[in-house]
């Protein structure tokens, strides 16, 4: 009885305070993603996730991504241009990519880190394909599955003459022949954005070099160099993926 009374009083007091003091616009966001975008919804593990920024303007990072120094090598600062033809992007481009290619299914956002990193938290909308998978051989089932996932089609027997012609056409830039190798056809390659832990992380650059070594077109690859470190510094939403969604490390 006493508890109920106290509860009632506290609710009334809070309600009164609310009436007097709280007339804020619920939709107002002080910390937007960009000057035109307050938030963005993506799908993670079949569920919608809203990407937004932490609204507390006094918030600071206090986890491992606040760390400034790691042994180099191997954790060395990566260049802006990771490979010829590959575009380096920032957060605003990622938002646009999420809103267009990711939503339409024409693109994939790839967390190229090993599962032990991925499972601690990832950028919403990402799938985990560790860099080791892209660096596998053409006959490795995990590599084949990953290359098919990004839009590659494994080719059967291709005649010597066909390949010869394709190489000529590729040199001339005709018929999209430059998107074919002896073993893969990347005519319908998806647009990819690969990322890892940040400017000190070599995992996504390695994944990109792996993709290129299989003949994946460079113009379909973007590198988010800022990675998890910049994502977190900006207070952007991070999700923990379902464990079974992580791809096993080879």
């Amino acid at each position: 009885m006493m508890n109920r009374l106290l509860t009632g009083i506290s609710v009334m007091a809070l309600a009164l305070a609310a009436n007097l003091l709280v007339q804020t616009d619920a939709a107002a966001v002080d910390v937007m993603l960009t000057d035109y975008l307050a938030y963005l919804d993506v799908v993670q593990d079949g569920k919608p996730v809203r990407i937004q920024r932490i609204q507390d303007q006094d918030n600071v990072l206090n986890d491992g991504f606040a760390k400034t120094s790691r042994k180099c090598p191997p954790f060395c600062i990566q260049p802006m241009q990771v490979a010829p033809g590959v575009t380096t992007v920032g957060e605003a481009e990622i938002f646009r990519f999420m809103d267009r290619e990711l939503k339409s299914g024409d693109g994939l956002l790839i967390d190229a880190r090993t599962p032990s990193w991925h499972e601690k938290g990832t950028i919403p909308g990402s799938i985990n394909i560790p860099f080791t998978v892209f660096n596998g051989d053409d006959d490795d089932p995990a590599t084949v599955a990953a290359l098919e996932k990004v839009g590659g089609v494994q080719r059967g027997e291709v005649s010597w003459l066909t390949r010869k012609l394709e190489k000529v056409f590729a040199a001339l830039g005709w018929f999209g022949a430059d998107r074919k190798t002896d073993t893969w056809d990347f005519t319908h390659a998806k647009q990819l954005v690969l990322w890892c832990n940040g400017p000190w992380c070599g995992q996504s650059p390695r994944a990109i070099h792996g993709l290129l070594s299989h003949g994946f077109p460079a113009e379909n690859i973007s590198y988010y160099r800022g990675g998890m470190q910049m994502w977190k510094i900006l207070g952007l939403t991070v999700v923990e993926p379902k464990p079974e969604k992580a791809v096993a490390l080879k």
Binding site: V22, V29, Y39, K47, I54, Q55, D56, V238, E240
Partner: protein, 117 residues
């Protein structure tokens, strides 16, 4: 040894590269453990993780169920009031949270929903 030399002289480096790759993976795993950092995510482990630890913030990006779990487990006081709301009122609170993950914004909306009229 002979294999190693042959491999190096053959222009490739299957053995040395594999070793380097193993070292890199080992360093990555060690760093993953050191960096630790379960992040500011939906699974409620953020206290230990160092992501959103502050009670003034609710972990961002949660769906409705996870949002309720988060309130229940980390913000008992707010949950106490929230628990008295009807389903549509709860959805309204969730809508506010989606735009502003500060606990104060969520509390204000709860109180607004509770207030008569």
């Amino acid at each position: 040894m002979l294999t190693l030399l042959l491999a190096v002289f053959a222009g490739g480096c299957p053995v040395t590269c594999a070793a380097a790759s193993d070292d890199y993976l080992k360093a990555l795993e060690n760093e993953a453990n050191d960096t630790g950092a379960r992040t500011d995510a939906a699974q409620g482990d953020a206290h230990k993780a160092g992501g959103v630890q502050d009670r003034q913030l609710i972990n961002p990006g949660l769906d409705f169920d996870a949002f309720e779990t988060e309130l229940k487990t980390r913000h008992a006081g707010t949950w106490f009031l929230y628990n008295r709301l009807s389903e549509p009122q709860r959805k309204a609170v969730f809508g506010v949270y989606q735009n502003d993950n500060t606990t104060s914004a969520v509390r204000d909306e709860i109180v607004r929903q509770l207030s008569p009229g």
